[in-house]
Symmetry: C2
Subunit: 327 residues, 2 copies
């Protein structure tokens, strides 16, 4: 299969994490997709043994090289257009989340997807992290009985961010960008879909980062009645031992399971214990590609990619408008 890559603003390195697990993958072309330098992406490709052509025009690259699949990680505000153009050409899409920054953009991608035989998934890589993957499987397998309450936390170091993070038009907001991971865990652990959301956010005290919201809270009711919340912040001190403090706490009728510090903390009828997760049997990019090649079903579906993106945009709208939004 032929892969092309557009941009490296976010998590396109996921590709190289597992590309060698897929037999016969080639990378004939890359493009920054905008005025960004393609050097970083080119270096990454070459370190992984690929020598792609660097194309200045991403559309022309798709038309000329006719890839089977494209990795989209250009400017956030162009994700949707790049997705739609790729789907129209029958090219499978592996796109940075969120795949759209507005509901109109999302509808454009959905429309292109409906008419296409190509597939799309977004980069919800944290679903594949060992403790989250195993924790979600345990919850869905009944380890805590019927799930009633789930809380997800994303806490990041702010560090120094490129300018595009400082403007809502090019960044999209902290709820979509950081919250997407938390929402994805909620979707994955619960196996449910969102019914309503309220949210609050704050861009004050953001250390000169323009529009960037430094903290946010989102609160959901799921269709089955599960209660869910996400806590999102860039307040993790630079001195902390890891970049992110990622957590999920799931409480059910027969136990409580928590993912914290990369471990699973379980309390059930047998008492309290800590579980060191096993290494996952799959990784995000190869999981998608192997399914495309006719292998086992991947963890993420196209429908979940749309549901997740919609949740990001509606939660942001709930925060912006100070209202409750129904899905």
């Amino acid at each position: 299969m032929k892969l092309c890559m557009i941009g490296s603003r976010g998590h396109s390195y996921y590709v190289f994490e597992s590309i060698h697990e897929i037999p016969g993958m080639s990378l004939p072309g890359i493009s920054s997709g905008c005025g960004d330098s393609p050097q970083r992406l080119l270096d990454l490709a070459e370190r992984n043994g690929f020598h792609p052509e660097v194309c200045s025009d991403w559309r022309a690259m798709l038309d000329k090289l006719k890839p089977d699949v494209v990795c989209i990680d250009g400017p956030f505000e162009l994700h949707a257009e790049m997705c739609a153009e790729s789907l129209k050409r029958g090219i499978h899409v592996f796109c940075e989340k969120p795949i759209a920054l507005t509901l109109d953009q999302l509808e454009m991608v959905r429309a292109a997807h409906r008419k296409s035989s190509a597939r799309i998934v977004s980069m919800v890589g944290l679903r594949y992290e060992p403790a989250f993957l195993q924790g979600a499987r345990m919850v869905r397998g009944g380890a805590i009985g019927k799930l009633k309450l789930i809380r997800a936390q994303k806490s990041y170091k702010l560090g120094t961010r490129p300018d595009f993070y400082k403007h809502r038009e090019t960044y999209g907001g902290t709820i979509p960008w950081v919250g997407s991971h938390a929402f994805d865990w909620i979707l994955y652990f619960s196996g449910d879909t969102f019914e309503s959301v309220t949210a609050v956010q704050s861009a004050e005290d953001n250390f000169g980062n323009g529009d960037l919201e430094i903290a946010a809270l989102c609160q959901f009711r799921m269709r089955s009645g599960i209660l869910a919340s996400a806590s999102i912040d860039y307040l993790r001190p630079g001195s902390a031992p890891t970049h992110g403090d990622d957590r999920v706490r799931a409480a059910g009728t027969e136990g409580v399971l928590e993912v914290r510090d990369g471990k699973i903390h379980l309390i059930d009828r047998n008492g309290e214990r800590e579980i060191i997760p096993e290494q996952p049997d799959r990784r995000l990019f190869s999981d998608f590609l192997l399914e495309l090649s006719g292998g086992r079903p991947a963890l993420v579906s196209d429908e979940e990619t749309f549901e997740l993106t919609r949740a990001c945009l509606l939660a942001r709208e709930a925060a912006d408008s100070g209202t409750m939004i129904h899905f």
Copy 2:
């Protein structure tokens, strides 16, 4: 000073935790305040060296024994009436939270308080727990810079509950009953007041406990812009090592402080560390009584008691109505 006690449905045992720290306290009378047996309260008093008269009529007890202060812990739905009647008689009130189950009841207590020289505080004992007390002092002292985000968790074992928990009219709901502690931590850690709230709750899968909500989530914006949330549940398994899993996580511009497992976990510019809290220099009941006797100011004010009760009732209304409520 003379104390009378009405009922022991909740946390009236707080009285005996520190009553001997107050010189010259007497306990001439107790009453169950309703059809409940007074035996449990009488036993507790006697084990602590008091031999009160047992009165069947709580009003008659107040009129006859003329206490300086009354501990109110009768039926939840009578808290407000008992508070108002005591305040009208110039008797200081130490009342189980919430002090009212409806906004009308709360207004009745406020009106009686305005006309009285007597004071009122509710039993927000968890503010006095070592790690929470010290954690709040650290946050208010600037240990994490400017507070931006605070999350409180109350997770209890359900166990077997008396019948009055099964009816909204006599229980008041899980948001007021359990959430009050979480809201009190938010008030205390932030030194701020509430601006708006949304909430979700679920009474399904409550193991046959009638109206009792087994789980709830509340999300606040504070007046200064701080974002706050509370996670409340009765889903802690019976096998867990403690009754409650009480937590607060406070994130500010210069650090993150978390209270968990009775310890303080701090990350600031100097890195990550765990702090074993010191024994508190005060306890709830004696703190109030010593202030009444002209000593140092207590941690809880009358105004906070009203603010907390209002927050409980408005958060419950937000959950019941599925709307955002502004304070």
